[in-house]
Symmetry: C2
Subunit: 691 residues, 2 copies
């Protein structure tokens, strides 16, 4: 048991594989930040309680799991939050239809309510059995318990949960050795923090990345793009990022990585026009390289042995391949002002009508096999596409459809082609356990209600994205796809547009608060969005909550889905304030709320200072925010507001400030700036005392 | 390349694993039958065209797949018939929600329209990539083909199918060596026949097994059982087999294998009463052994290291464990007249709300691991429960929820807790490719129409089963579950009951024809139910038909599902006759039929002799069938009708007959018996000339 950092312990067994998440990592452990997190200084699990064996199938690890201990993590799991009693396979997959562990971003990391974390350093499709089975003979003592006969499947299968002290069994295929990392708490949240800091800390998006996003119709041509861009500004609908879907390229399946001059003649001029209107531009792509791409010949020797969609699969773990890929993106896109990319199709598919991607048995020039490459592809791709931004000294905030272990430093947000709204909310709850970011993007809507309920969720998420790739006009003008394509607008579109504008503006008002939460993510490893059990691990009522989450340290969000007029919200201990009415609620119990369509249940911790900005239409590099500080309660804690230039990498050289907001008894407040950033992004216009 | 039988070739590579389907097989290859099948006498694939490699992940095999060649098989696949371009993992699973290969009965065997079969002898979760990908660089020549940009997912994913000459890539985890068997055709069907004969031939059920089955309410007590049993006879609803669901045991999850004396006092007397009414009795169970079972202590040392539902998982590949299990079943059940069992839960589950079964990493005393045991559990269980019947000299026809490779000799029919009617029909189409039997059982019905449409399918299937475990009264009295439980019957139940009776009687009339199809299955390896492509491999129109099938050599069945008023039926070349109206249809084209609720599209090949029996209420050991022979066409081929005592194992000693039915020009016919069975099961009462 080797101590690798404060509160982090490494257990090596045998000879680990060459290609693992830590072997492929590019960010260093944040030792200094880890030193600031208090801990006991001893491994959270006695190494004698860990059994490791190898067989011809690979390697198996058995770790203790006490009665009542709850298990969380395993990456972006859309089907379940609490994994106790479940089996999870860590395999990247694009459209998991069931709770099997398959995910856009599976991660061999879990934390428990006993306040520790376990990371198994493998790129394999490892399976975690979280207390699913008892050992032979363990039930013999219970033989006289009488149970009634079931006449429904639920009754029958109710018999099955293993009870008592169990184990977490980890089944790692092919490996003959392994490194495991154990993260001390003492709490669940601090164990997660340690994992994020071990990964290199959380990412810090540019401030514009926290504004509104709009991705346009896939078949859009230049005129369509400009019509939309003009429309948003004219209609005062805040939008920061404008996204191009597949149609911008000459070939998309696989990709040419070249502008289509037919649909987009003079595309650089069009881009300059968009930049002039203060839009950031994001381009869709995936990494399978079509024969017509200028990168094709250079990548041929550095690609896997099978094609996907007629294209090469570049081995981005090889420096040369990565350089070809990154340089093309720097020269052709980033140096010409492109702000980010949407990295699609880097997962794999077994569940859609037509499965795709390369075989698990594929061979890559680096020596990685297809299985390892599948689980690493998303992070390798993120890492490669971060290079041009690092080279240009600007941050990006981008999208990716696959991620995994140690990915928290990458400024990429996960998304999915799945679309169940409850699953999407669960994604926000779940991603934080593994240091991941997820957007419950709005694509289509079955009704006006559905559109608004989905936008309410997405504005309280890491990326406020409307992905309108299937409709030429904004959904607030027409939710029905066919009518949208025909240019027929809804009768009551004005009301819908107004409601959407209010939600977009709400998002814009939250940007400084949210940006500060991301700064804590970067520096302390605290996920900006997280499950209630992370903040309240001693409260059993939070264990299975998969439809409400914390945004930052003070705001609890409980989204509604279409068709539901009311919902229950459990408020943990302490006092809470309704975000809209300021009404006070005692915590430690559940309430039923039935807000109208314009509102969703949102609560602020009492005795909180909450800075809200006057909404901007967009966040230019020189944007300044005019803040109102809401003062909840009679003795609010100080609030540390993070400030830097909002777009460059200068903060790494210490060019940032912490502004300490304090309330005074006279109702006014005090803002104390400290730090090395010479500019000023914030002015405080008022303190709003709410009693 | 070793010739192991006529038309069967074995390729060994490296050192195969110890626990494989052939290593665990119990039936011998039927060499004599294989000698009768003509073939070229050379391997259908040149061994130089097969590439085998090993990596730390296991072993990979690459086999050629020509452009246009279609791939079928892989066991009971409910989601797809034609696997060309798809990836299939051979993993047993109870509730596969998507087309991944997971199945109640996955089988590492495929056949193609080029007329050969491939069996990979492994119990591992092998994955077959059936022409999914091209090799790197293969698409470079197509770079100038222009495609339009998709704006829907279907358009986008339409890009993906690999075209041209490809390969079947088989990815076998953990193995360092392998045996592969190649089966010559020359046709697809003869390749399947060879595989079945290699497995030991098809099973021959007792004749009563082909009658009607009824499984009763799980919570039924003795009185409920007798009320149902009396009712069927009183209402003249033919039923041969009466099934008891979990409630008969003292403990069901896991199992005690003991009668519950509270619900069933004097159970032997009850059984005798049922036998006296000519019912056969079938008992539900699974193989996880509860601590209260009398087998528990004896099996403790011969079980895997993890429990399932508090019970032991016996290692039935060990002779001692198998003996304990078989002897308990012989002494307690079979010697007391029980005719068969329903072997539940022997698959595994990853997709239901609560996954269960033992880990893949479990260790069994024989040396098998959990992965291997999962894929073999179903066949080991069938094999064990066949022992008491072999010992008693009587056949069984039973049910099982998991099966796999080389399983055709076991007289067990697969069923599922899934319930989509189209999937269930697809199961009938698909199972035959791998020598398996499947029942699209009727459980609940959403309406009278649904009930009748499902019964129509099941009476044209290997087992005509109504599994009414959730309702206390027959579904023809009330289809709605709650009302059924409350004893409220439908207003029009008489009409429904009458319609069901007609269908049950139709089944009973088909028993001699069907029994003969099973005799061909046993002796020649021809699956009694099969996809149209098996009989018409040169007809491209049959390649993707997943909703119609052959029953025996002469009958084509095209079931309807509820909510559809009409359906298309493709009739292959040759003339066909409507089963109901005798109308003649030219083959080689599709027709649309819209039969009323009492009928489904069924067709008989023209120039066929079809023996139909006067329906019996049940098939007692001494049952005799009165036949009418339908004479379709002016020059019908002879029909060979199989005859034996219908229940014992005497046929193995040659005690059976073939009755050759021939039509004469005067309209009458000729029946010529040859063989050593001294009894007479059939009398021919008339020849019905249909022109």
């Amino acid at each position: 048991m080797e101590r690798v950092a404060n509160g982090i312990w490494k257990l090596r067994w045998g000879e680990p594989e060459k290609h693992t998440p830590t072997a492929l990592r590019e960010f260093d452990i944040l030792h200094e930040a880890l030193e600031l997190l208090p801990c006991k200084g001893e491994s959270p699990i006695d190494p004698n309680d860990i059994n490791i064996t190898t067989t011809k199938r690979g390697l198996q690890i058995e770790l203790p799991l006490q009665e009542g201990e709850q298990v969380y993590g395993f990456g972006l799991q859309l089907h379940r939050v609490n994994h106790t009693g479940r089996k999870k396979m860590i395999r990247v997959n694009s459209d998991p239809v069931a709770d099997t562990g398959d995910s856009h971003a599976p991660t061999p990391f879990y934390v428990t309510t006993s306040g520790y974390g376990v990371f198994v350093d493998t790129s394999r499709y490892a399976t975690f059995y979280c207390g699913t089975n008892l050992r032979k003979g363990d039930s013999a003592s219970k033989k006289n318990e009488r149970k009634t006969v079931g006449t429904s499947e639920i009754e029958l299968y109710g018999y099955q949960t293993a009870e008592g002290n169990r184990t977490v069994l980890v089944d790692v295929p092919s490996a003959a050795g392994i490194d495991m990392y154990l993260f001390e708490g003492p709490e669940l949240l601090s164990a997660v923090q340690r994992y994020v800091l071990f990964s290199g800390g959380g990412c810090l998006p540019p401030m514009w990345g926290l504004g509104m996003w709009y991705r346009a119709y896939s078949a859009a041509q230049k005129e369509d793009v400009m019509r939309l861009a003009d429309g948003f500004r004219k209609d005062r609908m805040p939008v920061d990022v404008f996204g191009f879907e597949p149609g911008w390229q000459t070939r998309a399946y696989s990709c040419s990585f070249l502008w289509d001059e037919e649909r987009f003649p003079n595309n650089q001029a069009m881009l300059e026009q968009l930049y002039g209107m203060n839009y950031r531009v994001n381009l869709w792509e995936h990494l399978f390289v079509h024969p017509t791409s200028p990168m094709y010949e250079q990548l041929l020797d550095f690609s896997g042995d099978y094609e996907v969609w007629e294209g090469l699969v570049p081995d981005l773990s090889i420096e040369k391949a990565r350089k070809v890929f990154a340089e093309h993106h720097l020269d052709t896109f980033v140096s010409r002002g492109i702000s980010g990319f949407k990295l699609d199709e880097c997962d794999s598919s077994d569940y859609v009508h037509s499965n795709w991607s390369f075989p698990d048995a594929a061979v890559f020039p680096s020596g990685m096999d297809g299985e390892q490459m599948h689980n690493q592809l998303g992070t390798l791709y993120q890492s490669t596409l971060l290079d041009p931004f690092e080279a240009s000294g600007r941050r990006t905030y981008s999208q990716v459809r696959s991620s995994g272990a140690l990915a928290s430093p990458y400024p990429f947000v996960l998304y999915s082609d799945l679309y169940d709204h409850k699953d999407f909310i669960r994604g926000v709850v779940n991603a934080g356990f593994s240091g991941l970011l997820w957007t419950p993007e709005v694509r289509q809507a079955s009704s006006i209600e559905d559109l608004i309920r989905r936008i309410q969720t997405v504005v309280f998420s890491p990326m406020a994205l409307l992905n309108c790739w299937q409709i030429p006009n904004p959904p607030w003008l027409q939710v029905e796809g066919e009518k949208n394509k025909a240019g027929e607008f809804m009768e009551d579109y004005k009301w819908v547009q107004e409601t959407c504008r209010e939600l977009f503006e709400l998002r814009m008002s939250l940007v400084p608060y949210l940006y500060t939460a991301f700064a804590r993510y970067m520096k302390e490893g605290v996920p900006p969005f997280r499950a209630l059990v992370m903040d309240y691990p001693d409260d059993e009522h939070t264990y299975n909550i998969d439809d409400a989450y914390m945004m930052g340290d003070s705001i609890l969000v409980a989204p509604l889905v279409t068709g539901t007029r009311e919902r229950e919200v459990y408020l943990p201990h302490g006092d809470w304030r309704d975000f809209w009415t300021h009404e006070r609620y005692k915590g430690g119990r559940a309430y039923t709320f039935s807000p109208d369509l314009k509102h969703l249940p949102v609560f602020v911790k009492d005795n909180t200072l909450l800075p809200l900005a006057k909404p901007l239409q967009y966040i230019a590099d020189d944007a300044e925010f005019e803040l109102t500080v809401r003062v909840y309660g009679s003795s609010p804690a100080d609030f540390q507001l993070y400030e830097d230039d909002g777009f460059s990498l200068q903060h790494r050289q210490g060019n940032y400030n912490w502004i300490c907001l304090s309330s005074r008894t006279d109702g006014e407040g005090l803002a104390t700036r400290r730090g090395n950033f010479a500019g000023s992004k914030y002015t405080i216009s008022s303190w709003e005392a709410l009693g």
